[in-house]
């Protein structure tokens, strides 16, 4: 089972991260602020992926299909509907993603394990093919650029084009959604997901429709990935074919595995490390994806609980109450 931290502990972390999040941009260069924005967006993408992998035990190689649908929908509606507001575009985008999640999820309903992994990859390829071929709408290989609408709150006019302003908007919205995801893992539905993973047969025999529970979770994670995708487009004021590619699905797998699937924090950590590492390595060498691949294999072989697992066991050692948590999710 997932290592569930106490509420107080999590709240403490939450407040700490929030303060850091608010204060951090004050002292750093614009470039760093943009990087932080990217981290927050990818943190949500990774958290949504881990709800599938870490909580439900469903390995998907196609999570970018929803990220991409979110990214493209925002770009398409902003290009075609004049006067559409910032939040209007985001709303339409997540609605479209939810519908896409439902359509794909209904076909995958009866599958889990290896066939599920294979099918998600195939569906991602389908979405990618649509995005490349449907040139008139998606711009094909050229991608789509947008003009970012400002946010008018009545009492304040937010210039979303400003990197720092956009950062705070992202922190507020995506940050609260990530917090909700954490709460979700404690709700009846979140617990149902965990229990289905642990003993699906018994869940059926105490009255749960486990296919429905899988579908609901799948649609929900699609919705979250779509939201992350829409902010990705808004952040870069551009979307390209890479947003919906299998490479993007690969990135989220790498982030989550590096960060660790065994805790809620793991994927967030993974997103931070991946993006900073990418930023750092790509300055030094063009071969940074190769290095990422080596790190990935190393983690799978030697650190199956990821960085968050490492930190957990290190912390426990420090506090002198080292004991093996037999509840490590992967080792069932």
């Amino acid at each position: 089972m997932i290592n569930q931290r106490s509420f107080a502990q999590f709240l403490g972390w939450g407040i700490f991260v929030l303060i850091v999040g608010v204060v951090l941009p004050l002292g750093v260069r614009q470039y760093q602020v943009a990087l932080l924005t990217e981290i927050i967006i990818f943190a949500l993408f990774a958290v949504s992926y881990n709800l599938l992998l870490g909580y439900a035990g469903l390995l998907s190689f196609g999570h970018a299909m929803f990220f991409g649908v979110g990214a493209y929908t925002v770009a398409i509606v902003l290009n075609h509907i004049s006067g559409l507001s910032f939040f209007g575009a985001v709303m339409i985008s997540v609605m479209v993603t939810t519908v896409a999640g439902f359509a794909v999820g209904s076909l995958l309903l009866r599958h889990k394990g290896v066939p599920f992994a294979l099918l998600t990859l195939a569906f991602n390829a389908l979405f990618y093919a649509i995005a490349t071929k449907w040139h008139s709408i998606t711009g094909g290989d050229d991608g789509l650029s947008i003009r970012l609408p400002d946010i008018n709150l009545g009492f304040a006019h937010l210039k979303t084009g400003d990197i720092t302003v956009f950062y705070y908007i992202t922190l507020l919205i995506i940050g609260s959604v990530i917090l909700f995801c954490w709460y979700f893992t404690r709700t009846a539905m979140g617990q149902t997901v965990l229990l289905v993973r642990e003993n699906e047969e018994r869940m059926k025999f105490v009255g749960y429709n486990t296919n429905v529970s899988r579908l609901i979770l799948f649609v929900f994670t699609g919705f979250l990935a779509g939201l992350a995708g829409s902010f990705y487009t808004l952040h870069y004021q551009f979307t390209s074919i890479s947003a919906i590619s299998i490479d993007m699905s690969t990135i989220v797998v790498l982030m989550v595995i590096i960060g660790g699937t065994g805790s809620f924090i793991g994927p967030i950590l993974g997103a931070c490390v991946y993006i900073y590492l990418q930023d750092f390595l790509s300055d030094i060498t063009d071969r940074w994806p190769f290095i990422m691949g080596l790190i990935f294999i190393f983690m799978i072989l030697y650190v199956p609980r990821g960085l968050s697992g490492l930190i957990d066991s290190f912390g426990e050692r420090l506090r002198g109450r080292w004991h093996l948590r037999s509840s490590v999710e992967m080792e069932e």
Binding site: V114, I257, P289, P304, M330
Partner: protein, 286 residues
Amino acid sequence: MSDIPVFFLHGLVYAGLLFLISSGLTLVFGMMNVLNLAHAAFYMLGAYFSYSLLNATGNFWLSLIVCPLLLFFIGAAVERFLLRRVHVYGHVQELLITFGVAYIITESVKWIWGNYPLGVNLGGFLSGSVNLFGLFYPIYRLFMFFCAILISLIMATVLYKTRIGIIVRASVDDSEMVNTLGINVPLVFTGVFGFGAALSGFAGVIAGPLLTTYPGMAAEILVDAFVVIVIGGMGSLVGALVASLMIGELQSFGALLFPKLSLALMYMLMAAVLIIKPSGLFGEEQ
């Protein structure tokens, strides 16, 4: 109208290629319950090894033998040193490790050969055309098709007529049972995994001169091979054969009749199979 036989033959050629890849994939899955995401990366390596060997020696026949052999050892090493280590952790870790291998192979290929398409030039009679009942058809495509048939026949003979074939088929049905018979199942696994890689590498060698050799070729054919084994039924060789023919012809005629929809057709077929028979045409119901 004279297009129809040409497109039919094109479809057969692609089906042959797909079968070479998907048969190894489905055999490994049926036996080890591992979906090898690096399978198509082995195919790509076959194409690139062949490209380099051709540049060095100019002998295509040599690469037809050497490259699959190399891939056999690479595949066996992946099984022995990576896959087996994570086996105890379950399917998720197994899938992830093959995923990591695929990723590293793709990045290595970009590193060594560059991130752009390479052309493979074949000299000799293979690059010509032949008159088939009044229809001029490239010899190379026919050659590919006959290679696929030849390999399939050899594979069928080995699987159904030899002792090792019986062991492999029995392992597909029930590997625990075979284990209790005193057969070294891990060794059989390594062998079959390596054999699957070699098969995939062979497909890469013969695909190289026809299709472009580039770092995206693995992902491209992997998805087609996945669709094949979903439609055919995971673990079923007969299913892989039938579905390869379906997909090969569908893509070929799709390109002729509905050029805009040709890609979607394949997925529509897959979705239809998923709705009507989720375990695939020849798959066993769970």
